[in-house]
Symmetry: D2
Subunit: 146 residues, 4 copies
Amino acid sequence: MSTCRYSRLMTDDILAFAQRIFDNQPFSRYLGARLEGVEDGVVRIQLALRPELLQQHGFVHGGVLSYLADNALTFAGGIALGGEALTSEFKINYLRPARGVLLTTRAWPISTSRRQSVCTCEVSCTSEDGESTIVAIAQGTIVTVS
Amino acid sequence: MSTCRYSRLMTDDILAFAQRIFDNQPFSRYLGARLEGVEDGVVRIQLALRPELLQQHGFVHGGVLSYLADNALTFAGGIALGGEALTSEFKINYLRPARGVLLTTRAWPISTSRRQSVCTCEVSCTSEDGESTIVAIAQGTIVTVS
Amino acid sequence: MSTCRYSRLMTDDILAFAQRIFDNQPFSRYLGARLEGVEDGVVRIQLALRPELLQQHGFVHGGVLSYLADNALTFAGGIALGGEALTSEFKINYLRPARGVLLTTRAWPISTSRRQSVCTCEVSCTSEDGESTIVAIAQGTIVTVS
Amino acid sequence: MSTCRYSRLMTDDILAFAQRIFDNQPFSRYLGARLEGVEDGVVRIQLALRPELLQQHGFVHGGVLSYLADNALTFAGGIALGGEALTSEFKINYLRPARGVLLTTRAWPISTSRRQSVCTCEVSCTSEDGESTIVAIAQGTIVTVS
């Protein structure tokens, strides 16, 4: 649904820019999230699971999934807008309990104007067997930082 | 907007039940959140701010606010439903950058049926001067764990 | 939760301004909705029920409730912003089936900056007996028309 | 993103079932919407534009778009769930003003369990020149009617 508007060269620059911002987010470092790539406008953020990220039944805490959605939406929107941005609002649906070893979030822009980008996002969970299942979807508005 | 349906005795029991669940959430402990109270169906969760919870500009990371909203909604809904529950979906609007020393989240049920409760939530941030400002609002659906 | 920022005089001017816009909405006239009042920043829109507004089981169609939420949010935000505005996004939770004679929507701003207002909204349904029940809540972002 | 789980035969049955429900919705008839097809789980609803469906600037009223999103989500979820269903909640982002001759809404399930289906939806507007532009996206929860 997203359209590629980025050449390889642009993508490299954008990735470096996004990576610099990501590395300066104490909360992302605290959780252990990593910005893994930006390809054709699709941002990919991953987070290796560990006990601190779970809730009372051993599943991933919803707050971890909402952090991933929020952050992936921000970066997808910021890249589409061509600069620093922040999530103004989003909505998340949890689809099933997440249990496994790795969370992968992909987010991409649906429609971008001068000052805002509406983006969508999927969070998947990879089990120990390497099977990946979608566990949440999100949709939100990202705005430029003035 | 919420209606009190709990006597003092019930509230004590419910608070103990909710506290037990909360204490068994590794992610809530990792962030340092505390279930501070349940009064007339309103759940109050607090989180003292520290550098690990911030984003690249020194404001609270949106993911921290969305964790608080998610978790407060879950507990408000669970208490209204009278048992363990989980957030099925929610939507959050960030209102302004959050900077200060303490986050306080209050969530309460608007409408509860046998299997689900629709709840609403406010997140406020207290500055060093003790001034409190609302920084996010959220609305979501909480369902019973079957 | 909303704060009164309007004197009686301002409210009269604002109501006249809002009424003019409302009266120019063909869709609102087609459905039969009426802007009933603006008081202390709270907008009230009503819609008398008739067979055309129902779904297959005789309840109000969800699209009627979402129209009311969308429109009441727009007017609440526009009044808070002091000019013409549009709903950028919103989220609605349906709480129970709506059946009766009259729908009443109340919307008010939670937080307003120079260019946008985050508002919240309740839709109630009045039965033939005159009993009123909340049937939906909504939350959304209203932005100025540039 | 949606997966085809329907054979041609099933699709015919489902379409007939969905068509029957759709035809019994007074509000859909009042607006002039038509259930145009169900293919591989994707529901398509169309609505020819006419003056009654507009707002004060000659664009489609947001409430018309939210009706389309609500209804397409309901049918996509109902078909995925295999029976009558209703939209429990949804969120819509308006992407740009809609002006033209025809609205087309496509909705499909992302994840379906026994009692609920989380679906996503796009609304497009076709101009007089036959050009189609996406004007809104939505995401919501559809539940079985018990």
